[in-house]
């Protein structure tokens, strides 16, 4: 009898397909953030936009599997010309979150989103990325002049009656601690958000961020580790998948890694995943979930 194969890395089974992500704008973005873990930019065409038909095919699959929620990201989702129709299709099936930099949110956009939200029994959450309390902290990360434009977008959302979630990263100094968090929420209230919500993400040393700081060290790996059931259950790859124009990936973080592409369809992607990437180390160590 031969000994069972020893795996170098722990394996995460997919226990339930609860969350389905769509990289609806591909890697195309109207800005070039210094910490973007997939280096999205106006000229990054490595992942194309998704069409409404492509999204629809995967939505039908997700419905069949009883998915609980849908997230739309990019790049910048509002660069996709079919985005409102796509969001409407998803909102017919479940709650939706859209991750945006808010630069394209004009009064008309905010109103249209409000009417989409009103027409669905499910929630539409808008999650806006902002990297500081002022231009001096935000703009070096997200680009010259972006702070004012993001605040204007947030203002439009608030004026239309949305309660956006603001996402910031640990690049914003002190925000992870409760004092920093309280300060950030106060700043958002002062800026006119009635019920501000805040999501703080750890930095992922992938993509553009490796040039801003540095890449993962060789010891930052789950190699040789065994995960308990509780540790495994905390990993987002046990309950979600990331749909792109180039196939279904294990999670939103790893689309630059061919080994993280699982299949062309959701059905074929529901298999266990070996946690062989440094980002897996971050998810495990910080409890990171890309969900709100």
């Amino acid at each position: 009898m031969s000994a069972p194969a020893v795996r170098a890395y722990p394996v995460a089974p997919l226990t339930a397909l609860d969350t389905v992500w769509f990289q609806v704008a591909g890697t195309l973005c109207n800005i070039r953030c210094a910490h973007c873990f997939i280096s999205c930019a106006p000229d990054n065409r490595s992942f194309p936009m998704m069409t409404r038909a492509e999204v629809g095919a995967r939505l039908r699959e997700a419905e069949e599997f009883g998915a609980r929620e849908y997230y739309f990201t990019g790049g910048e989702p509002f660069m996709n010309k079919e985005i409102f129709e796509i969001l409407g299709d998803a909102l017919a099936l479940g709650p939706v979150s859209v991750l945006t930099n808010a630069l394209l949110i004009k009064p008309k956009t905010a109103a249209r989103l409000k009417s989409l939200a009103g027409a669905s029994p499910y929630s539409l959450d808008l999650r806006v990325s902002l990297d500081g309390y002022d231009a001096a902290t935000n703009d070096p990360i997200r680009g010259e002049g972006t702070f004012d434009r993001i605040m204007a977008g947030l203002g439009e959302l608030a004026a239309a009656g949305h309660d956006p979630v603001v996402t910031t990263t640990e690049a914003c100094e002190g925000v992870a601690a409760s004092e920093g968090r309280a300060r950030f929420l106060e700043f958002l209230r002062a800026a006119g958000l009635k019920r501000p919500r805040l999501k703080v993400l750890p930095l992922l040393r992938l993509g553009a961020e490796t040039a801003r700081t540095h890449a993962y060290e060789s010891w930052e790996t789950l190699r040789g580790r065994e995960l308990s059931e509780t540790e495994g259950a905390g990993l987002q790859c046990t309950t979600s998948r990331m749909v792109t124009a180039k196939g279904v990936y294990v999670c939103p973080l790893l689309i630059d890694f061919p080994g993280a592409r699982l299949a062309a369809t959701l059905r074929e992607s529901l298999r266990p995943f070996e946690l062989a990437y440094p980002a897996c180390f971050t998810c495990h160590a910080t409890g990171l979930s890309c969900r709100t």
Binding site: A16, P95, S123, A182
Partner: protein
């Protein structure tokens, strides 16, 4: 196949969501449904928010109310340091900790032992429908099932995976229901212990009953002496944020876990 008659067959039952130590609302609710239902079931989270946790537990046990564990009972029975409410926001966790520490300190060890004997789920029949009682969801004791974030396809999956016609839960503190077909769907009993973030101090109980051969859920408002509760909470030095909620009906904490629709309906 699971045992579908574990907790019996009924025509009409009352379901009590989180009591949160609101023993005054519990008294009022039990009186309200007395002689009107065949049985009353409590869906867990007897502590938190309100004062004097043992008063709620004594009442539940004295009246012989069949109960399941919530995350509070699971935590108290196993002497853990955290209520495992499932919040992610530091402010929500701060208030959750105050509640839990207060409740843990003032719950007798005999009641904690009793909590450890409670099941995590119960199955019963109401009319022809199989009903599965759970706290958060059938798969996780502290899963939040909000109305605007629990879509039809997901409910269909829950019902199929757990071989039931109806899932009845609580944990979010807001009551709602969603039917996929007549007598088939999900009912969240909300909370008996805390107002429903609607600007009124009343709280809610749930009646499950078969009418015209189809199971339905009715949410029944429960009025009680909320001013007395607020006074006792203040005397016990519970956070003024909790006292305000008991008086006004608007939630001041546990806000960050809410999806956009539920959040927009509240004041804060």
């Amino acid at each position: 196949m699971p045992d579908l008659s574990e907790a019996g067959t009924y025509r009409r039952v009352a379901l009590l969501g989180g009591v949160y130590s609101n023993y005054l609302a519990l008294e009022a609710a039990l009186k309200l449904v007395e002689n009107k239902v065949d049985a009353v079931f409590a869906l867990g989270d007897f502590g938190a928010f309100g004062p004097h946790p043992d008063r709620t537990l004594e009442l539940l046990r004295e009246k012989g109310v069949p109960a399941i564990q919530g995350n509070y009972e699971e935590s108290l029975a196993t002497d853990t340091d955290d209520c495992h409410c499932g919040y992610t926001d530091p402010r929500d966790n701060h208030f959750a900790r105050i509640s839990y520490d207060y409740t843990k300190e003032r719950t007798s060890s005999e009641h904690k032992r009793w909590m450890g004997t409670l099941p995590k789920t119960l199955r019963l029949r109401v009319g022809k429908s199989r009903v599965l009682l759970c706290h958060g969801s059938p798969r996780r004791i502290n899963e939040f099932l909000w109305e605007s974030a629990t879509p039809v396809p997901f409910v269909r999956r829950l019902l199929a995976e757990h071989e039931t016609d109806v899932v009845a839960c609580t944990h979010t503190g807001l009551h709602w229901k969603r039917w996929l077909a007549p007598g088939r769907g999900i009912v969240n009993a909300g909370a008996l212990g805390r107002p429903a973030n609607d600007g009124t101090p009343r709280v809610w109980a749930t009646i499950l009953e078969e009418a015209d051969s189809v199971l339905d859920a009715r949410f029944v408002p429960v009025d009680y002496d909320h001013e007395r509760l607020a006074r006792e909470m203040a005397e016990e030095r519970l956070p003024s944020e909790f006292v305000e909620t008991a008086r006004t009906g608007w939630w001041t904490t546990c806000l960050e876990a809410m999806p956009a629709k539920e959040r927009a309906a509240g004041r804060f």
